[in-house]
Amino acid sequence: MRGVRTQVKQPADPVERHLAALADALHGPARAKRRMLDDMRHGLQDTAAAHAESGVPYPAAALWAVREFGSVRELAPVCQQELTIAQARHTARAVALTAPLLVVCWLLLRTAAGSGPILPPVLHILAAVGTATVLLAAGVLAATGALARRLPALVRLPQAVAWGGTAASTAMAVTAPALATCAALAAEWPLLCAGVLAAASHATVAPAARACRRCVRLTHLQPTRVTSPPAR
């Protein structure tokens, strides 16, 4: 029996084909990526239209626009750098979003602190993770926004966010079942609520941290290489 080969249909328009290849090579927050590709689409369409207006037939005009624009190999690294920073900011926002959950979680644990020997260490871990991640998130949002004009380029910042977010989500993943077990043993509802909040924090941060790790990996895999456009 012959195997079934799945073939992805390539767009016929050179502009769309180029953008589809670029989209495949880039990773980052969907909104930021779509916005960048939309901007590029408009630029390519305008360039192709300008060539077509000077008398070049459309397919050749579109091909010429694509060639002037730069190859995927040339553009992906510079685009990915920006998308990696966008993803780091997205991850930092996800971490910041869990701050209120962690505070409530910590307060619930304090009220139930006498319920078992495991609680004091969990309380300290939670306080440390909560404080560290919120400080990291605030620092990243400030350092990659308007404040970045006054700071040296912090190349390792997305990496710090990726691994900081991973550490926070792992801590939450460990804390949640520990609290659920304590809640079952001590029959204390605040512990169960704290466990649910820890699980919710993990569910919020883990996908964003994973996406950030992927973007950081891609940024390191793609060395920046920009050459001059071809002579007409």
């Binding site: 930021a32 916005r35 960048m36 939309d38 901007d39 590029m40 408009h42 630029g43 369409q45 305008d46 360039t47 300008a50 002037e68 624009f69 730069g70 040339e74 553009l75 510079v78 685009c79 750098q81 920006e82 920073i85 966008a86 990659t144 926004g145 308007a146 970045a148 004009r149 920009v226 050459t227 001059s228 456009p229």
Partner: protein, 113 residues
């Protein structure tokens, strides 16, 4: 002029062509080409991540505008962008004066012997 030579100055070039008013991506590219009389060779795709970065840094702001039948994202300088452009110009003048004085001592930047 090759792309490698342009790369370090891309931010300044983009800020400079946006000084008179808002432009969309393709208009920015044609403005750079026109101001340099076509001497600057640039992979046009590289300006989009650069515009993105300048907007993130608060040097540009963008909005949708309709030009003809097309809707395009247009970029314009913010106050911080104008200040940054002034800084880029001052740094460029200082740089060319210093290098000019070394390369061409008899030229306008050269010191009298």
């Amino acid at each position: 002029m090759k792309t490698d030579a342009v790369r370090g100055h891309l931010d300044g070039l983009l800020l400079a062509v946006l000084e008179p008013g808002p432009l969309h991506g393709y208009a920015i590219i044609t403005a750079v080409k026109s101001r340099s009389s076509g001497a600057l060779e640039l992979r046009t795709g590289t300006i989009y991540p650069a515009l993105n970065r300048l907007e993130r840094l608060g040097l540009l702001r963008s909005s949708w505008q309709t030009t003809g039948e097309r809707r395009r994202r247009c970029y314009e300088l913010t106050d911080a962008g104008r200040t940054s452009l002034d800084g880029e110009r001052a740094a460029w003048r200082e740089f060319t004066a210093v290098i000019g004085a070394v390369l061409d001592p008899a030229g306008p930047h050269g010191s009298p012997a």
